[in-house]
């Protein structure tokens, strides 16, 4: 399989074989080598604030319960009874003192211990060793400033090392304001008949599709400039933004104007007032580059493999694979806790209008991503390639930013790094074989100056 994987992606020329979207054997290997190995987003701490609060999610295709403990820590378990495998929790979220299986009544406490077994003495004759039948915990659970991640691989790097220099950009949401961050609203879940990599690719680097695929939506709601991107792709300002990659497989698109995250808000005034009232605070906390240029700007952050968050547009999304040609796309709205309630309400409302299930932009993407997947399934199309070969070799260092950086939001630089990371994981037998790189790390840049 590895020889095959080596041929399927060429990140120097920006070529991918369409088989990576349609071959079921490749998908099975992704579940093992990507979803079974990488740190995966589980929950934001704001979604399970109190003891006993739980949230159900997925790691790959595995059903997971994440639950806040009495001591405030967070644990995660497979949502599967250790007796006969039944699902022990059926709700999306809630609060529980125990999870009791509907099948035979085994019950598990929030720390995963098997707490009760009906007829334990009468029918098991007191011979069941309960300590061996606790819920199966996710191997590692860790937090980065409110984001809880889980990982199945005991040999993975720490979450902080895994995130690497992407933390520089994550902090623009998680740590810009003293009150921190929150996810708002229930989960908007949607089935898409697409391979999971295609929506990730779409948001991680593809500013090119915005002015074309979303021309109608942009005409309907755009109120401010976004790096010169125009309806019908008639122009672009490559100096107005950055495509940042080379950070352990994580990618960022960022405008540099400090306001354009709200370009698709029909009435951005209340949010612009919030930004201006607090900008100095953010500059004090994160410095001039992030405080002035990035906070408030259109920023697309992709954490490999399946998490995307767009501070500004304020949507936060995870793609759960559901077979080689299907995903569930889960979306929440993002906010800073210091935002006035009226601004939070506006963010929720704007999500309905733009990137919710009925959002104008999502209407366009769903159609394109499903069709790209379908056009990889034919006998002939499965043998064909697709390309992310825009602006090859035009990247480098930018003062004040980490990463290998190409100019502008319209470039296919980030997608090439995404597929490069995909290939690195798919070819590696274990974490030791997965390369770690934080190109142009700010720590190294400072050392150079010193």
């Amino acid at each position: 399989m590895n020889a095959n994987i080596a041929d399927l992606v060429d990140s120097r020329t920006g070529r991918q074989s369409r088989a990576i979207y349609s071959d079921e054997a490749i998908y099975r290997q992704e579940l093992e080598r990507i979803f079974g190995r990488c740190w995966l987003f589980l929950v934001h701490t704001s979604q399970i604030p109190g003891p006993g609060d739980y949230f159900r999610t997925f790691m790959g295709e595995d059903d997971i319960i994440v639950i806040r403990q009495k001591d405030g820590s967070i644990k995660a378990f497979l949502n599967s009874c250790t007796h006969r495998g039944n699902r022990i929790c059926r709700a999306d979220r809630g609060n529980a003192r125990a999870f009791t299986c509907n099948y035979h009544g085994w019950s598990f406490s929030p720390d995963g211990a098997l707490a009760g077994v009906p007829l334990e003495n009468e029918a098991y004759f007191g011979e069941l060793d309960r300590s061996k039948f606790g819920l199966v915990p996710v191997t590692k659970v860790a937090e980065y400033k409110g984001l809880i991640f889980g990982c199945w691989d005991a040999n993975s790097p720490s979450l902080e090392d895994y995130l690497g220099d992407a933390k520089f950009f994550l902090d623009v949401w998680l740590d810009a304001m003293p009150g921190g961050s929150a996810l708002l609203g229930e989960t908007q879940k949607m089935v898409l008949g697409t391979n999971w990599k295609l929506p990730v690719e779409n948001v991680c680097g593809d500013g090119y599709h915005l002015g074309w695929a979303h021309a109608g939506a942009m005409s309907a709601v755009q109120t401010m400039d976004l790096t010169g991107l125009s309806v019908g792709n008639s122009g672009v300002d490559l100096d107005g933004g950055l495509s940042v990659a080379g950070m352990n497989g994580h990618m960022v698109l960022s405008a540099l104007d400090g306001v354009s995250g709200y370009a698709f808000y029909p009435d951005p005034k209340p949010i612009l007032e919030y930004l201006e009232a607090n900008r100095q605070t953010v500059i004090d906390r994160l410095g001039e580059v992030r405080g002035k240029q990035v906070w408030g700007a259109q920023v697309n952050i992709t954490i490999f493999p399946n998490l995307q968050l767009l501070p500004g547009l304020n949507w936060f999304r995870v793609y759960h694979p559901k077979g080689h040609g299907q995903i569930e796309q889960w979306t929440w709205a993002m906010a800073e806790n210091d935002m006035p309630e009226a601004v939070k309400a506006q963010i929720l409302e704007n999500q309905c209008l733009t990137f919710g299930l009925a959002g104008l932009f999502d209407n366009d993407d769903g159609d394109n991503l499903t069709a790209c997947t379908e056009q990889s399934r034919g006998w002939r199309t499965a043998q064909m390639d697709v390309y992310t070969n825009m602006a090859l070799g035009r990247s480098g260092k930018r003062e004040g930013f980490p990463g290998d950086i190409a100019a502008g939001l319209v470039s296919e630089h980030n997608q090439r790094y995404f597929y490069r990371r995909w290939q690195e994981h798919m070819m590696a037998q274990n974490w030791a074989e997965v390369p770690t790189y934080n190109i142009n790390s700010l720590a190294d840049q400072e050392a150079e100056h010193a």
């Binding site: 709700a91 609203g185 989960t187 908007q188 879940k189 021309a215 109608g216 309806v231 209008l353 366009d364």
Partner: protein, 183 residues
């Protein structure tokens, strides 16, 4: 919001006359026909200026969880729109560049289980109905959206206008790739 009638049904509500029930039933059927035909100009003329159009998202919760997922407007919704927002959505279709709407989606709206009641406002009526909205697109894309609606319709000089609508879908995971539909 208001000096308009509430969607919440009082303990005792007065059923409307046969004549009024017939008039509003015909109004709902006409509205469904406008939506099937994508005649959004005629449809939006049926919407009051102070419209609130709400379609909450529904999570799966245990019965003991009393979280209000339906009427709490600070929660997530698929639609939580005023009339200007509806018009903004529709303006996308007029740009000629909403590529994903061409070829057109084929819609059928079926409206049933209509009940009409008087409200605390003499010119506003509470109308319960169920809907079955069918979509078919391209070659094989199809889905069925089924649920309940509660509306407030206002009698005006130019016929009835929709003032409030709460449409409750039954989905948890939406089994299709978008909601390019009004219900």
């Amino acid at each position: 919001m208001t000096d308009t009638a509430t969607l919440e049904r009082p303990a005792v509500a007065a059923a409307a006359s046969l004549e009024l029930t017939h008039a509003l039933t015909q109004t709902l059927y006409r509205e469904a026909r406008m939506l099937d035909d994508e005649n959004y100009k005629a449809w939006t003329e049926m919407l009051a200026e102070d419209l609130h159009y709400h379609m909450p998202g529904i999570e799966t919760r245990y019965r003991r969880d009393k979280t209000d997922q339906v009427t709490d407007l600070t929660r997530m919704a698929y639609y939580n729109d005023s009339k200007p927002e509806i018009l903004k959505r529709l303006s996308r279709l007029d740009t000629g560049t909403a590529w994903s709407e061409d070829p057109a989606t084929r819609y059928t709206h079926i409206v049933t289980n209509i009940e009409v009641e008087h409200t605390e406002k003499t010119d506003e009526f509470r109308v319960f109905s169920n809907f079955y909205a069918y979509r078919n697109r391209n070659e094989r894309d199809e889905d069925s959206l089924i649920g309940n609606r509660i509306d407030i319709w206002r009698q005006t000089g130019e016929g009835f206008q929709l003032v409030k609508r709460r449409a409750i879908l039954k989905h948890n995971v939406m089994l299709s790739k978008n909601l390019n539909i009004y219900i």
